[in-house]
Symmetry: C2
DNA sequence: CTGTTAGCGCCTTCAA
DNA sequence: TTGAAGGCGCTAACAG
């Protein structure tokens, strides 16, 4: 039988209240008493029943997700997943809410973080922008004792407790390797379409991609990176232009979100030989393009897993519990038309 | 404030006990009373607090995993993951245990299933063998009201509540697509090494692989399937032989477990041009072979995810709760040397 | 058939 | 500094 507070109270010769004080590190216990209790805890191998504790506290975990109000499919899907979690949240003693901020706007993100701290939630998840002031704001959240995790895009040197998202360098490397192999290893020209080189995940993907190409497929020439700002119209124009200027293009790597424009352009331009296309994020658009052969491979991060992982991690941090690292590693899904879920 | 049993008792004008009876479908409640209570439940939007209920019941979920005592890395890893879950299980009000059975032995599996039923656990997970007597045994478990899930290898027409594992046809298709693309689409000869055509997952992988090759890469010729019974020595001999007999082999698809033998053979045989190799399951052996270029791609199912998913599903079934389908879908991981975790 | 009462393991007033 | 008592939401005897 698992020991309970009663057992350790009896074993230490004190009352339940005292045990509770020690357990929760509350003041008002003599040093000797505390040690006696801690001895009993260690001896009996007591572990607190979190469910019972939460019941007694009638605790609900308040978690806040700060999401950019981007209109690309991935961010919308991420929001949907959070809303799905909200729907289930009352069953789990959680109160999850969403705060939207304008995209690519560090000042707005900082303001949101500072506002959120005032409400003292049990945890915060947010999509990071990589600037010093955001870093400082994260530091303030952490200093307030509120668990905070980055989502999708990280801020490595900051005080965040955890990063929920894929390894973007590995993702870029994988794209590079697939591109090189699919193109057969000869000489060829490859175009890269990004959202913005100001966000870390895009920079890292490019870095990984370029590294693999340089090391393993020296025959591939990478054209200057296009920045489509995840905007369909702009991306479409850029892709049309680059295909016109470089009819020899054999491959395209789209490492950002907002692939609608890319797909439109590919459908419009008539190429003698279709280019090999690798993109990120499985959305309605990329899925259709994969199915009909416009896109050859899609690297994906599962937004549902990310949201659930973020919640699990925040809850664990809030309870002072360890996280199962293997469970929380977000994997890079590779989809071909043959393994579409 | 979320309504509690007290609220619905008051609203329906009955006692807690009666509410409890209705909630748990226990007998001894008049029809009218029951309906009154159900009305109140619906009206107030009551949802039972499972944590509190479990506390009151001091319930612990007893789950049994029936695992084949195979000595390949994948099955050993699966066992390790279950043991990891056991280590954490007491915290979660669970008592997980493992029953080992001889591999590829339907009669032993049936005996194990029938024995396990007698202990009336809260749920059973097992690696299926696809025979009628196993199917019948599963039927008996289900008839006893015990939730049961298949793990890794399914038994589709049986009475199992859920299958925890990858879509093996899609996995085979993916392997076929990668093989075709990596080989550049021309004429070539491909060998296939399986464990046994008696287990369903291997059959399905072959089916998916062959289909894609036939439809999309007609230039590829598939040699007769080798059955290595997941035995390193046998697999090694078979691969050595086939490479000797068919020096023109350009690709090998290893769709079973036990890749040690394959890797050994590949390292021994000196080929003028290295064959493209695609295998299943990321283990210490395949990981090393991937890293050093002996294997080109590994399709993997994450044993840790599978075990955790099986437990979540069994718990949900035991509580009569729905499962989050998206969360429980086991994905086909594709690893190249560039995205090794 | 229905209600009363005493917990499950823990936390939290309120007294002492 | 410590303890007694009541309660979180639900279940389970045991009476009526």
């Amino acid at each position: 039988m698992k020991p309970t507070v009663h057992d350790i109270a009896r074993s230490a010769g004190v009352s339940l209240a005292t045990v509770d004080r020690v357990l929760n590190g509350r003041p008002g216990v003599r040093r000797v008493t505390r040690q006696r209790v801690e001895g009993a805890i260690a001896e009996l191998g007591y572990v607190r029943d979190v469910a019972a504790a939460n019941l007694a506290k009638s605790r609900t975990y308040a978690f806040t997700f700060i999401l950019p109000a981007n209109d690309n499919s991935f961010m919308i899907g991420l929001g949907d997943e959070v809303r799905g979690a909200i729907a289930r949240s009352s069953l789990e003693r959680m109160a999850v809410r969403i705060v939207n901020v304008p995209p690519f706007d560090p000042a707005a993100l900082v303001a949101a973080l500072d506002t959120v701290v005032l409400e003292r939630p049990a945890g915060v998840a947010f999509v990071a922008i990589d600037t010093p002031d955001v870093r400082a704001a994260v530091q303030r959240v952490a200093a307030a004792g509120i668990p905070i995790v980055t989502l999708v895009s990280d801020l490595p040197e900051a005080a965040r407790d955890h990063y929920v998202g894929i390894d973007n360098i590995a993702a870029g490397r994988t794209a590079g390797s697939l591109m090189g192999r699919f193109l057969g290893g000869g000489d060829a020209t490859v175009a890269v379409l990004s959202g913005s080189m100001l966000v870390r995940d895009h920079r890292e993907r490019l870095e990984g991609f370029a590294t693999v190409v340089r090391e393993q497929f020296p025959g591939l020439a990478i054209l200057p990176v296009l920045e489509g700002r995840d905007d369909p119209a702009l991306a479409e124009a850029l892709v049309m232009q680059v295909l016109e200027d470089n009819p020899q293009i054999a491959g395209i790597y789209s490492l950002g979100a907002g692939n609608r424009g890319l797909i439109q352009a590919l459908r419009k331009v008539s190429m003698t030989r279709r280019a090999m296309v690798i993109a990120h994020e499985l959305t309605a658009y990329t899925r259709a393009a994969l199915a009909d052969g416009t896109i050859d491979a899609v690297l994906n991060q599962d937004a549902g897993h990310e949201v659930r992982s973020a919640i699990r991690v925040l809850k664990a941090k809030a309870d002072g519990l360890p996280v199962i690292a293997a469970q929380e590693r977000i994997r890079i899904d590779i989809f071909l038309k043959d393994n579409l879920p």
